[in-house]
């Protein structure tokens, strides 16, 4: 039942998507599990937020459906734990009639959706498909970023320096002056960067590498805090 954790950092995971279900009410989680399986969705079911956190596999293409009101770790606290772990799994909270303010709070702290009880089965299934689609997109863009990171790691220190300056928008002349090399040398480094990173244009380099560097910087700051 418990998923095998793959220590690998590779995000390419071609297994079918999985729906994590967390609800403290046995009948609710059992019936939801049956419903999801009846429409061909794989799911893993947990009775508490802590149980789920212990088993959660960030490498798995997935989404999470959780009751917002649970004894122990509540839905809101679960969302906060996921944020702390930089786990970007899309979360759909199931809320009771009077829990809308709680759901709004959860959305503010990063939940992707909520659904109010009682709900139509198709409504929940649609939301799950939407959440899985957004997870797939996110994973694809992360995979692309990882590929770029890997290519960046093949650059020489001097090439890396030139790449950073180009992404920041410095002209070749300025880079040449700052690094004490000829403009021609900078042009050669730039050409090698474009080839090694498989970039077809300056615009592509600035946007994709800029995003990766930005994210690494942000998580570097987050890690330093």
């Amino acid at each position: 039942m418990s998923p095998t954790k793959t220590p690998s950092v590779t995000r390419a995971d071609h297994r079918d998507p999985i729906v994590y279900l967390v609800d403290d009410d046995e009948a609710i989680r059992d019936s939801l599990g049956l419903l999801l399986r009846s429409v061909g969705l794989d799911c893993e079911i947990y009775a508490s937020a802590l149980e789920f956190l212990g088993a959660y596999d960030p490498n798995r293409h997935s989404c999470l459906v959780a009751d917002i009101r649970m004894p122990g770790l509540s839905g809101l606290e679960l969302q906060q734990r996921l944020n702390e772990q930089h786990a970007e799994v899309p979360v759909i909270f199931i809320t009771g009639h009077g829990d809308v303010p709680m759901a709004v709070n959860a959305m503010k702290s990063g939940a992707s959706d909520f659904i109010q009880k009682p709900f139509r089965d198709q409504d929940l299934i649609d939301r799950i498909h939407k959440a899985l689609a957004s997870d797939r997109e996110r994973r694809a863009s992360r995979a692309q970023e990882d590929a770029i990171r890997e290519r960046i790691s093949t650059l020489t220190p001097r090439e890396t320096e030139v790449m950073r300056r180009v992404v920041r928008g410095q002209a070749n002349k300025v880079i040449a002056f700052d690094l004490g090399v000829s403009q021609r040398t900078v042009e050669l480094h730039r050409a090698r960067v474009m080839r090694k990173l498989k970039m077809r244009s300056l615009a592509e380099l600035v946007s994709t590498v800029g995003k990766v560097l930005g994210r690494d910087e942000a998580s570097g700051i987050a890690a330093a805090q």
Partner: protein, 369 residues
């Protein structure tokens, strides 16, 4: 007959003063008594003092007097008490009564000083009415909080049932539905339905546990205690309240506040029923008496249109009402309360036109558990 000084004293007294001879005939009736009882002194003097007392005090009175004459054992003399008095127009009203005795050349005289307690009782009862209302509001609030908790407890199994049913439908829509899975789902739906039922059953037990304390109470006192509330309703519609309280009633095991609610509900219905009726008889009668089985019967009779035969016992069902602005829960709640004491609440046609609602309560030994 009386000295000028005594005459001045009698005339100036705020309280009614009535003097009675050994034969219980009225000998003196002061101006305050005239105002209070609605008889002139001329018409009162010489008549039996019992005319100033409603039943059951009237019958009891003769017993007290003859016993006192025989044994010399005072029942009220020098003690004083609060009781009910009867006006010339048939109205009863609460009084404080004190009695003194004088022995003179013409034999014994009894002096009764009577203070009208209507205003005092009205003040007390409006305070009591507020208390009554508050206790009801309190109960409703508690019900509201409980309802929220119960809603969650019931929604869980209902939610699971709905999801199981939706899953079953989807499984059935497949080309080869797995029968065993479907059988399991049906079992689970059944279990969840039972679970929801248990929540309600526990709720019922809880409410029963909350049951209000009952104790042996004097039914006449219950009615006298709410008389002002009844009269306030009735007088606003120009309706007279006639009390006919039985004597020697056994105590019944009940809750006074609840029973007051029942009586008030019945008298309010009676007033409502007569509001638009133009019959000559503009009174409602509230009576108590002993039943053959030793219990107690309260009846509230009006001269309204009565209850349509085809409605029958339905009038006791919740949300059945003949009033434009009624919720239709009064009789249902009243019957539930009375039945919780082992008693009954029933309807009879009033032979004189109108309705009679009859509450019967068993003697204490039968209803106590």
């Amino acid at each position: 007959m009386v000295s000028a000084e005594l005459r001045a004293l009698l005339d100036a007294a705020v309280d009614a003063i009535v003097m009675v001879d050994e034969q219980e005939r009225i000998t003196t009736f002061n101006p305050a008594a005239e105002r209070l009882f609605g008889y002139s002194a001329e018409s009162a003097i010489g008549r039996d003092v019992a005319m100033l007392m409603p039943e059951p005090y009237r019958s009891e009175h003769h017993g007290y007097v003859s016993r006192y004459m025989q044994t010399g054992e005072p029942h009220i003399i020098g003690i004083g008490r609060e009781t009910l008095a009867l006006r010339a127009d048939g109205q009863t009203f609460p009084i404080a009564l004190s009695v003194g005795e004088a022995r003179g050349p013409n034999g014994r005289r009894f002096v009764a000083i009577i203070r009208d307690l209507t205003a005092l009782r009205a003040a007390e009862q409006s305070a009591h009415a507020v208390e009554l209302r508050l206790s009801q509001v309190g109960r409703f609030n508690l019900m509201g909080e409980m309802a929220a908790g119960i809603a969650h407890e019931i929604n869980q199994p209902l939610g699971a049932i709905a999801t199981y049913a939706q899953a079953a439908k989807r499984i059935l829509e497949r080309e080869h539905p797995e029968m065993q899975t479907l059988i399991d789902v049906c079992k689970k739906i059944d279990e969840q339905a039972l679970r929801a039922g248990r929540v309600l059953e526990n709720l019922r037990k809880f409410i029963r546990k909350q049951e209000i304390r009952t104790e042996p109470i004097d039914l006449n006192k219950v009615i006298v205690d709410v008389l002002n509330l009844i009269e306030a309703d009735a007088h606003a519609e120009g309706i007279r309240v006639v009390l006919r309280l039985g004597s020697e009633l056994s105590a019944v095991r009940a809750n006074a506040v609840q029973l007051q609610q029942v009586v008030l509900n019945l008298t309010r219905n009676a007033v409502d029923a007569m509001r638009d009726s133009s019959g000559k008889e503009r009174d409602i009668e509230v009576a108590t008496e002993r039943t053959a089985m030793g219990g107690v019967r309260i009846s509230v009779a009006d001269h309204g249109p009565g209850v349509l035969r085809q409605l029958g016992d339905n009038i006791f069902h919740p949300f059945v009402t003949t009033k434009r602005e009624g919720l239709g829960v009064g009789l249902a709640i009243s019957r539930t309360i009375v039945q919780s004491y082992g008693g009954s609440l029933a309807y009879q046609d009033n032979p004189g036109g109108g309705a009679i609602f009859v509450v019967e309560l068993p003697p204490p030994e039968e209803s106590s558990q």
